[in-house]
Symmetry: C2
Subunit: 589 residues, 2 copies
């Protein structure tokens, strides 16, 4: 086995060319083997094996700089830079993160996991190199859907002005997470069909030099093409055609399904029983898709909008086909998704945009300047906003409440159970009071409360679930079950607590707070999000001039990485025992 | 005079073609006349007079939809849609806003003032039209630098998939606010030079149909070109060449200086004495540019980065030339600016990015995912973050504290005077503890405190300026003078207040707060920003479990428009008398 003896890129360069196909096969086998056990980005990584080998044979990192866009396709890069054991030895699976990680290796330049940043980052590296009067190659590797994000365009557009060494490898595997969308991808198809010769060429139009390589799995050809560009004195694009899932039939046959895989049987590709990564997500996805399909049948104005992750809102390929023009995937283009939805609403449609909290960050100004400034009736379903969402620092989803909490006129709802979620979603579609966002529950899986209290107007106020005294618990959204457990535990200590479902994540119910202050000495806020700028802080201000003690529980403003959610909560004092003890102490103060 | 008799676009369509040059001249004269008195976007509006007349002769708004990107070039549109008096009658100057405004007219579809949104909004309008089975034309008018924003690319990229009527007019006046940057603008130049025939064509490369019109001031030619596209069944780009400042020599001769004009003498174009819109801004700009030039001379790593508004950081054309490669204007591309700065820092440079608060919103995810996740040593100078910044709803700058307050590891400093600002800027360039943002003061103009207390480490804590008891005033940044006035007034009422310069806009000094709580019964926070998610709220949480009353003063989470800043503050209770009265009442509570 070659891979076991590769401890740095120098070892890759020392191998004879004849050994490389075997090395690629070993890497491919390690990708399939490790992701079959712990899950991961199987398809994208299988596509970039040979390209990564060639990059490390032609360029000498860390002196030369390689920036992998999104960086979920860096498994081969990690294996070739001293981290192979984490993919070969089942006992060490998961020892490295799934993304580029400077704390793991000097060959990883940036922590990154959102798309479309690589060219801008590489432009900065190149400019710093030129300022310092140094000489080395700077390479951005972009693909896998990342080109449709506006930042990638800004990067390419500015790269054309650089006037010095920059190599942009477009790893064209024909896919985003879901199918590619947009005119640029048609242009890539045209370029593939003409072996790069088509006169229409988006890269050349921006003033960039351009080369094409058809077989992105031919290491010798890749090496030759890259070697030719090494030391270039101007920015140049190398467009490489690869196959998502290459070399593993189940993945190659279903690129969307295998973009990110959960544990599977290597022989058949079948998902292992009980291996669905986020069963709650899937369940919420299904009911979302089903409810929206119902709405679409009776209301032609309803449109589901999505940015390359249709599955989060339950839009399987089959549902997409049934929805027709009432389902729109704009590709990886979150800014466009929000402004487009604003235009849809202004034109009389009722858009429902489903998006991960971490990616909604990319449309902050469109939320503020387009959606909210125009009070457009759009519903935004915010997924993964929880300590129990993706536990990678690059994809944390629990910064949403401060983000949306400074948007004028936006109603941000936090349902506590699946029934309330669906009712809020239907309510939002008919709501005429401006945009509504809904924080889809995550923390406790699918919580069912068939007897939840419907509201005629969810924008109006909070709901008291249990009347008590002394301590009032404001348990936001998916932390309601936690609030219930705390209330039960307090009852066991002789304190009958009031339990509130605030419903609104960013707007205190001043009337109710006034009533609570009169009968309670301690107010406790519980939220599945960061404290800084969050729900609890807003309550603390609303209560700041009152004679009451407020205890706020939430998450840290920090890039926690690959954490255990329960341990994270415990480190923030968010346990039933911890909250009860604090509340009792505050009562006695 | 024709213009006085135009009360709607139908009147424009009823005019004989022979009258149109005179109408254009009248509009042009009204633009120059009104902006010479109240200021405004002189150059951009002069460029789009004939185009606007032609648009309203060919399309029938409000049935047809026209979306003007940025919308600062809609003066002619306003004049032709019933609002001419606001430009003709000096007594009514300023009666209408400087941007597209749906509350003024059914011909204005969106409130908007940030760039690059029009194509996405128009795609949404077109999709809504198609869903409803209606027929009308949807037109996006984009230019004046707006094409370099990534959202414009996302819009164009998605437009190519629309498959129905959409007309994109590229109003190419050869300028952004400052000179254009990026490969796309080189392509526009190539297309202009070849009358649209160049084989390199960024629009065609994206799959869009394309036409070129050289003389963007020839109304007949514009009408003919637009009429040909009316009712098109697919997206098409009409590239029109215009001249920024057309027809007014001072503006045409200095497009950057006349992008936005302050009151001027019509005869000579000279700025009227005392007419500089933001003297404090100019002063802060000058000292920023001068200090950065000093740094650059001694430290080749220092780079000033900017996104199309170099003047805010004092970089006049002359300074730009002197700075050479140490000054970079990336054009209107704020996302790129932040990621690029991150790359620069990773490559060993020390970037200082100057940007308006309202435009920094466009780079929210790049701040979070690139800059902060990578703890990159970058300084961001945040301009206009104040109730006393631009008072247009589209450009409010006082939402910055919640935005930056949820960024992990970012130090956000709020200097109280020009000396402290400069010291913090120098400190930030040498700071190795991750990114630093600095909130450039606005509210009270240039405040000088030569005896300000330097800190060796501004990230560490707050500063007590006056020791008192009972009431502690936490007066953030440019509200320090307000805090001083409140402290003086309290002294007059027999209360010796403590006055604190918090320095840090998003991080409570827990140690100092603990000390304050011991000796004060009332804590007052004063901030020139929104309360929701702001500085006061953070203090309120830090103090929530203590036996103290906290009063928070700040701005509303609302799209206030064309407001008087002092009146806005008064409406929020922010007057010396108001705060004093509240504090005294709280003491007696």
């Amino acid at each position: 086995m070659y891979l076991e003896h590769v401890s740095s890129p120098a070892d890759v360069r020392a191998l004879p060319a004849s050994a490389l196909p075997a090395l690629a096969a070993e890497i491919r086998s390690a990708i399939v083997g490790s992701t079959s056990v712990i899950g991961g980005h199987t398809g994208s990584n299988l596509a970039s094996v040979e390209l990564t080998i060639a990059l490390h044979r032609v360029f000498e990192t860390p002196r030369d700089k390689i920036v992998f866009d999104v960086s979920h396709q860096t498994y081969a890069h990690k294996m070739l830079t001293g981290r192979a054991a984490a993919f070969l030895d089942p006992a060490r699976y998961g020892e490295v993160s799934g993304f580029s990680n400077p704390s793991e290796s000097e060959h990883d330049l940036f922590a990154m996991g959102h798309t479309s940043t690589s060219v801008s980052l590489a432009c900065g590296l190149a400019a710093a190199r030129d300022l310092a009067g140094e000489k080395y190659d700077v390479v951005a590797v972009i693909g896998d859907g990342s080109l449709s994000g506006g930042l990638a365009f800004e990067g390419l557009d500015n790269a054309a002005e650089l006037g010095s060494n920059l190599i942009i490898v477009v790893n064209d595997n024909e896919w985003s997470i879901a199918p590619n969308h947009g005119g640029l991808y048609r242009n890539l198809a045209e370029l593939r069909a003409t072996h790069g010769e088509a006169p229409r060429n988006a890269f050349r139009a921006l003033g960039l030099d351009y080369r094409y390589l058809e077989d992105g799995h031919d290491i010798a050809a890749l090496e030759a093409a890259l070697a030719e560009l090494r030391g270039t004195d101007h920015p140049v694009v190398l467009h490489v055609h690869t196959e998502k899932g290459h070399g593993y039939a189940p993945a190659a046959g279903n690129p969307e399904g295998w973009h990110h895989a959960v544990p599977f049987d290597v022989e058949t590709g079948a998902v292992l029983p009980g291996a669905a990564a986020h069963p709650a997500d899937e369940n919420y996805a299904n009911v979302t898709g089903a409810l929206l399909m119902d709405w679409m049948r009776t209301d032609p104005r309803v449109v589901a909008v999505n940015a390359a992750t249709p599955y989060i809102m339950g839009f399987t390929p089959e549902l997409r086909a049934r929805a027709g023009a009432q389902f729109v995937d704009v590709g990886i283009a979150e800014e466009h998704a929000v402004s487009y939805a604003t235009g849809l609403a202004r034109g009389g449609a009722r858009p429902v945009l489903g998006i991960y909290a971490t990616f909604l960050q990319r449309a902050y100004d469109q939320l503020w300047h387009d959606l909210c400034l125009n009070a457009a009736p759009v519903t935004i379903l915010v997924f993964g906003a929880s300590a129990f969402g993706t536990p990678d620092a690059t994809h944390l989803g629990f910064f949403d409440i401060p983000m949306l909490g400074s948007m004028p006129g936006l109603t941000y709802l936090a349902p506590t159970c699946i029934e309330e979620y669906l009712d809020m979603l239907s309510w939002s579609i008919e709501h005429e009071g401006g945009p509504v966002a809904i924080r889809v529950p995550v923390a406790e899986g699918v919580v069912s409360r068939p007897d939840f209290a419907r509201a005629d107007d969810y924008a109006r106020g909070w709901e008291v679930l249990r009347e008590g005294s002394d301590v009032a618990l404001l348990a936001l959204g998916d932390f309601l079950p936690l609030g219930e457990r705390v209330a039960d535990a307090l009852a066991g200590r002789g304190v009958s607590a009031t339990l509130v479902n605030p419903r609104l994540a960013t707007t205190p119910d001043e009337t109710l707070l006034g009533r609570l202050v009169a009968r309670h000495r301690v107010i406790v806020t519980l939220e599945d999000g960061i404290l800084d700028g969050g729900f609890g802080e807003r309550c603390a201000r609303a209560l700041a001039a009152d004679d009451v003690r407020t205890l706020c529980y939430g998450l840290p403003r920090a890039f926690v990485d690959r954490y255990d959610p329960d341990a994270l909560l415990a480190s923030c004092g968010i346990t039933v025992e911890g909250v009860v003890a604090d509340a009792l102490a505050a009562l006695e103060h």
